[in-house]
Symmetry: C2
């Protein structure tokens, strides 16, 4: 499916066919493609929990306002970020680059994040947005519907998935075969959202 069509067709679907199984091949393509999304300094700080165990799904649903997509979607991804990824052997993110690129990027990377936890957090949330949207559009291309979700108790989900210290949850993405229409919603006209040169 072409990108523009995928963007237009994508809607936050709330009800999924609980009987549909996603093939292992599709699961692999979905994630292998999504990890090609960009991240600042290529630190790839996304860490995704693919929740398959029905008991885990049920536990999450309980702390997610009972939303049925948590248990009924074919896949449920909890998108997390490792807030310290920038300092975990960062040379490996640039190992395939020529030495001059590495020499330029690696000190910049350190300077960008060191001692600035709020910068690392903003960056993590941005990247999870980028990563998750890639995942949702690839899902659309593969014939699936999706739903981004942040309506849940973040602390409770962190416990359920055993989130390590210095990791943050961004949001969840449910992927599956939609069975109902998405809630209708509307968009502001572009003219109200775009400014020329300055506010």
């Amino acid at each position: 499916m072409e990108v523009i069509a995928a963007v237009k067709n994508r809607r936050a679907v709330k009800s999924f066919d609980p009987h549909h199984k996603m093939s292992d091949e599709t699961r692999q393509v979905l994630l292998e493609t999504a990890v090609l999304a960009p991240s600042a300094y290529n630190i790839q700080h996304w860490r995704t929990v693919d929740v398959r165990d029905p008991a885990q799904r049920a536990a999450i649903r309980e702390v997610a306002w009972g939303q049925t997509q948590v248990t009924d979607a074919s896949a449920l991804y909890v998108l997390c970020a490792d807030l310290n990824a920038w300092q975990e052997e960062p040379q490996r993110y640039w190992a395939t680059s020529p030495q001059p690129v590495q020499d330029f990027v690696l000190p910049k990377l350190d300077e960008y994040y060191r001692g600035k936890p709020e910068v690392a957090r903003d960056e993590a949330m941005r990247t999870l947005g980028i990563f998750g949207m890639t995942l949702m559009l690839v899902a659309q291309d593969l014939g699936y519907d999706s739903c981004p979700m942040d309506g849940f108790d973040f602390d409770a989900v962190a416990k359920i998935i055993r989130l390590p210290a210095d990791f943050a949850i961004g949001y969840m993405v449910a992927v599956g075969k939609g069975t109902g229409n998405a809630w209708p919603s509307n968009r502001e006209p572009v003219e109200k959202l775009v400014y020329i040169d300055h506010f």
Copy 2:
């Protein structure tokens, strides 16, 4: 271009043809499609500054380590968020929905954000990630290259674009016709980034 191909072809291009002009029609399609991206509670808090004035571009380049894509790309978008969008007549975001949907969503929306500025900020960054990735993939579909950028002095750019109080800058996206190869980079194997059921 199909989504998966667009994701694979997209690279952070650092050099652009400074002579290429993007048509008004393309600019319109790019933004009109990007605003179909999802946002939590459909609050659409993205506010994009489309920097066209060469003097504004030059001023931004000075506080962005002199990176040439700032001046040479056909379009430069500073992706910002209105951190208070959640409380600005939020019923308008759901005006086309049936009354029961509105009655459910609107109190939830208020409860989600009220008194929690850090939640609003995380959400803004996530949404700008989602919005910007949509923009970059649509650009790819339209035959353009792009570069997401957060290597700049955020406070200095805020002054240049006259960022209002209670707005935040997420990052910038340059869009244009690439003239050079992107820096090579590598990706971690999926297996290192995906956990089953829990960490």
